[in-house]
């Protein structure tokens, strides 16, 4: 799995470059990361020289585009380009000292890019015609939606006229994906990128919300509005200063004050952009941090006097819009399973427990139950260690708590990574531990590229 090894290599290199900047070279902590990177580089090169090339912001290994690594490491790839590096050739066995020169370059500390040794920079780049680009529709939909969010955010920041028509189209595409291949959609929603957390989080929340919406039987028109609400729920964060969003700890009261502005700022932007009939999208942005029990923020006066937007007679009236309650659960799930400025990612089953703990206070209990029903006890993308020692990746929901869970074995009982993951269903009783992607060294969404467009398992 080139994606996996490349991802591991880039992560280790990024950390090594940072540590280099902090401590200088030859520091033990830098060495730990460099050793890790060298290991990943050797596995990636598989005995032959391998060339990593960045073209148009995408990463290629030899001739193959690595879409997932391109997506999830976009920030670091830009850093690499910023330091004048367009390609890295790895000649196994890759030596830690040679990688140290590369990290020194990336830390802005080395004038001479190496052209000999086991790591060479900027050797002749691949001509575009040589590229081999798999075009996976699902990934393209994801990427297109990210681009859209970037564009919308920019327009919001610049106070330019924003159109929601492209957002509508993007949601429609994601909606079809959720309908056609729910397991793939759920795997796709495990894409993470800390560098662009808000955008990835928004696309993931959109996918997950649409899945609940489909389960709840919303019609297409309602699903589009729901999906837009989920996609744009955090758009107000463009107005929050990065120092607050990136604060690596509990927020000070002043920071909280600023953070708490994002629902109304986002709702404002959406309301301004909305065409007649789309205004409800702003409701989701406004309400998404209001909790089911009426606490949270902002203070919605209508908790005392609910607006008349509850459904059919006989349905339990709740002041929060149904779309908000659906989005809030997906939002919470993706936030807990993502690395945040202030917290590392939790595992999917743990996240389900957090949701369940919040049912009735944070979240609408019915929606939480519906969500768990969609995701299964072990959501697709969960990484688990079985009692037998294997590390498996859940590929689709079991559908029934007593049925075996469909999964792929990524690492066998002897600790070997499989280049071709093997189907391996397991019974919940066999689970020994939950792992985060980072701990397991596996990026769940990569399995999509691996399995090809035919789907998983």
């Amino acid at each position: 799995m080139r994606e996996g090894e490349t991802g591991a290599l880039l992560t280790a290199l990024r950390r090594a470059a940072t540590l280099h900047r902090l401590y200088g070279s030859h520091h033990p902590l830098t060495d730990i990361s460099l050793t890790e990177a060298a290991r990943a580089a050797d596995v990636l090169a598989e005995g032959e020289p391998a060339q990593l090339t960045i073209i148009d912001g995408s990463l290629y290994v030899n001739r193959a585009l690595l879409p997932m690594a391109s997506l999830s490491h976009s920030g670091f790839l830009q850093t690499i380009l910023d330091h004048g590096v367009t390609s890295v050739t790895l000649v196994p066995p890759v030596r830690v000292e040679d990688l140290a020169v590369l990290t020194a370059t990336l830390a802005g500390d080395s004038p001479e890019p190496p052209t000999a040794g086991s790591v060479r920079l900027n050797e002749d780049n691949l001509a575009p015609a040589q590229r081999d680009e798999p075009r996976d529709e699902r990934r393209m939909a994801y990427t297109a939606t990210l681009d859209l969010l970037r564009a919308v955010s920019l327009a919001v920041v610049r106070r330019e006229q924003v159109s929601l028509s492209e957002a509508t189209a993007a949601v429609r595409t994601l909606m079809d994906l959720c309908l056609d291949d729910p397991a793939a959609a759920l795997l796709l929603s495990t894409m993470k990128n800390h560098h662009e957390y808000t955008f990835f989080h928004s696309v993931n929340t959109c996918i997950l919300t649409l899945m609940i919406g489909q389960a709840a039987g919303l019609d297409r028109d309602d699903q589009i509005l729901l999906g837009m609400g989920a996609l744009l729920h955090d758009i107000g964060k463009v107005g929050i200063s990065p120092s607050v969003l990136q604060h690596p700890g509990r927020l000070t009261p002043e920071m909280w004050k600023e953070i708490k502005q994002h629902p109304q700022m986002g709702a404002e932007a959406v309301l301004l952009a909305s065409e007649p009939g789309q205004e409800v999208v702003a409701v989701v942005a406004l309400e998404h941090h209001a909790r089911y029990d009426g606490s949270g923020y902002p203070n919605l006066l209508y908790f005392e006097e609910p607006p008349a937007h509850t459904g059919s007679p006989g349905a339990a009236a709740h002041p929060l819009h149904l779309f908000t309650r659906l989005t809030a659960v997906a939002d919470g799930y993706d936030a807990v399973t993502s690395r945040r400025a202030y917290r590392r990612a939790a595992t999917p089953p743990r996240a389900l427990r957090v949701l369940l703990d919040g049912a009735g206070t944070m979240y609408d209990p019915d929606v939480v139950h519906a969500f768990i029903d969609v995701m299964g006890e072990f959501p697709p993308g969960s990484l688990l260690r079985l009692r037998g020692g294997e590390t498996v990746l859940v590929s689709r929901p079991a559908g029934d708590p007593d049925r075996p869970v469909p999964a792929l074995m990524m690492i066998d009982a002897a600790g070997r990574r499989l280049s071709q993951p093997e189907p391996l269903s397991f019974h919940p009783g066999e689970v020994a531990a939950y792992l985060t992607p980072e701990r397991a060294g596996v990026t769940p969404a990569l399995i999509l590229e691996h399995a090809g467009p035919a789907g998983v398992d």
């Binding site: 950390r15 039987g217 700890g249 702003a282 409701v283 509850t310 917290r343 590392r344 019915d366 006890e377």
Partner: protein, 633 residues
């Protein structure tokens, strides 16, 4: 955030290693004794610093000399204290001091890039002075300015030691941290320091970098914390546990709390399992505080161990799974789908909140958008929705400033085609919802008046005037203000609308319109005025008897029929004296006949008197007057 308090609290829980960093021989002072001695040193430094700052030359001062003497008697040499922005530390612990100057000294030293300072032997007064000079020297803006170490060396202060931040790194790499006093763990495991134990390096580096970032306002803090978090997980398990125990013991200190907060619930559960029984309560305590601060209950899922989580299956916590339950759940949610109407109601309620929370600039933007939505609904012919958006504008404008914003935005949004839609499609005009009427009345009168001025179609003008008539009942101001408009036809329509407003404040304007150059305006104004102010109406009508337009004079006669004022007779006399047309004369006589006043009677008698050579006109008048008198008796 107070490190000092946090440290003090912590010390009760986990006693710090007592060994001092001074080479005081094999005898080890007790922690309390070390603290007392360190405090005396810091107090002396603070006193000397104050003296230095007060006197041009502190050396002759008694206080300075006493301080120098105290600084010469530490537990041992070299004596070095770590410089933190918050104060001095010795052995990793803050040194308590009563002297304010101690903190200004450490801040200044810290800003100068000094990580630690001390003495290799008893300092001379001159050397101490040099130290202070180096510290108080402003950070040179040029790269060539010598660093503190170089500056000190240049001054030849041999007894003083300072360690700069950059230097500290070098020293710690070369000598396993022997150069600094600020490493509690160092002193606990002196042998590990030599072997470069990653866990201890980790703590030292982290604290050092954290302090440096803090001095610089903490940019890059996330990167630092994340890298150290990642590195933590790259360390061997036993080192992780050692560090984790350290973090927990110091969870009240900001830098360590930042690291602990990074741990996900899975991390905490997994590491928690491996803690020694003595440390486990610290984890529970940390988790309780963290959960409380996040508004969660302390015993929530995030404290469950992996085993508990794996064993307590989610499926067991749900009511039950299966097709029937799934269907029920789906039905329950489906029943709450609001539909277009519900969505719309929610959106307007949200717009209300957005407006109420918006700042000045945001308020303008949202008000503009809502005004546009109001008019868009009008354009669609959906007056109910228009009214709902209009309601948002009305309810969201509590202050004068905000009302002014709404007025501007509504005015802009009321483009001619919208007004056209509102006032010419008669079915719309007929059932304008009250909210829209209020909105237009409060904020839209100027464009409506402008529209009226431009409108050529009679029917549409009539419907606009009829709207303005009802609007003027609550808000005549905008109509009154426009009474001096140069377009006579507009003024006439405004007078018409004001006539039925019942608002007396409109009278003055209408009175003025009675002298309008255009007779059509004068006619309308004289007709309208008595409805607003009877006396003024009479006066205007009497004036009207002198109007240069015969038709208006006749109107005036008609208007005066019931007026009680004596001026009426005088006015009529003047009119008759001015040789008016027959019609006017007869009308005037008829009016005199109708008035039962003495003045009218006298005037009639005068008119009835026979006059030779009278012109035909006179004769008509006389006849009419005689008939009138006859009719009276």
């Amino acid at each position: 955030m107070s490190d000092a308090t946090a440290m003090t609290t912590r010390r009760a829980a986990t006693p710090a290693p007592p060994e001092s960093r001074s080479n005081s021989g094999p005898e080890v002072a007790s922690p309390a004794a070390v603290d007392t001695l360190a405090a005396a040193m810091v107090d002396a430094l603070a006193v000397a610093w104050t003296t230095y700052r007060v006197y041009a030359d502190p050396r002759p001062q008694d206080a300075f000399r006493r301080a120098v003497a105290t600084l010469g008697t530490p537990p041992g040499f070299p004596w070095i204290a770590a410089v933190h922005s918050s104060g001095f530390r010795f052995d990793g612990r803050p040194i308590p001091t009563r002297r304010q100057a101690a903190s200004t000294l450490t801040r200044a030293a810290f800003a100068r890039g000094i990580a630690a300072l001390g003495f290799s032997s008893p300092p001379t007064p001159d050397d101490l002075l040099c130290l202070f000079e180096v510290i108080s020297q402003r950070q040179g803006s040029t790269a060539e300015a010598p660093g503190p170490t170089a500056a000190l060396a240049a001054k030849g202060a041999a007894t003083v030691i300072i360690i700069e931040h950059g230097r500290l790194r070098q020293v710690s790499e070369e000598r396993g941290h022997d150069g600094t006093a600020d490493a509690a763990e160092d002193s606990a495991h002196p042998s590990d320091a030599q072997s470069g134990d990653p866990a201890r390096r980790y703590l030292d580096e982290y604290r050092l970098l954290y302090e440096r970032l803090r001095a610089g306002g903490l940019p890059g803090l996330q990167e630092l914390v994340h890298d150290f978090t990642d590195c933590f997980f790259a360390l061997p398990r036993d080192q992780q546990i050692r560090l984790f125990e350290q973090f927990l013991a110091r969870h009240e200190e900001e830098p360590f709390r930042l690291l602990l907060d990074q741990f996900s619930q899975d991390d905490l559960a997994e590491l928690g399992r491996l803690l020694s029984p003595g440390t486990h309560p610290l984890l529970v305590e940390y988790a309780r505080i963290a959960a409380e601060q996040e508004g969660q209950s302390g015993d929530a899922a995030h404290m469950l161990s992996v085993e508990q989580l794996v064993a307590g299956r989610i499926s067991g916590l749900l009511p039950s799974a299966g097709e029937a339950v799934r269907r029920q759940l789906g039905d329950a949610l489906r029943a709450q789908i609001p539909g277009p109407e519900g969505n719309f109601a929610a959106a307007t309620a949200a717009a209300d909140v957005i407006l109420s929370l918006a700042n000045e600039a945001g308020y303008i933007r949202v008000a503009r958008a809502v005004a546009a939505k109001t008019t868009a609904a009008v354009a669609e012919g959906d007056l109910r929705r228009a009214a709902a958006w209009g309601h948002v504008l009305l309810s969201g404008a509590p202050s004068r400033e905000r009302k002014e914003v709404v007025r501007r935005e509504v005015e802009d949004a009321l483009r001619p085609e919208i007004l056209d839609r509102l006032f010419t499609a008669t079915e719309l005009t007929a059932d304008l919802p009250p909210t829209l009427v209020t909105l237009l009345t409060l904020f839209g009168l100027d464009p409506i008046i402008e529209c009226l001025a431009a409108e050529e179609d009679m029917g549409r003008r009539r419907s606009l005037v009829s709207f303005l008539t009802s609007a003027a009942r609550t808000r005549p101001g905008p109509l009154i203000r426009r009474l001096n408009d140069p377009r006579w036809f507009l003024v006439r329509n405004l007078v018409d609308a004001l006539a039925h407003s019942g608002r007396t404040e409109a009278a003055a304007g209408v009175r003025a319109a009675c002298s309008h150059p255009d007779s059509r305006v004068r006619r309308e104004a004289r007709r309208a005025l008595p409805l607003l102010d009877e006396a003024a109406g009479t006066a205007a009508a009497i004036e009207g008897l002198q109007d240069r337009e015969p038709g208006l004079r006749l109107q005036a006669i008609g208007l005066l029929r019931t007026a009680p004022a004596p001026d009426v007779e005088r006015g009529l006399a003047a009119l008759l004296a001015s040789r008016p047309a027959r019609e006017e004369r007869l009308a005037a006589v008829t009016l005199l006949a109708a008035r039962r006043t003495q003045e009218a009677h006298t005037l009639l008698l005068r008119l009835a008197r026979r006059r030779p050579f009278a012109r035909r006109a006179r004769r008509d008048t006389r006849r009419a007057a005689r008939e009138a008198l006859a009719g009276r008796s």
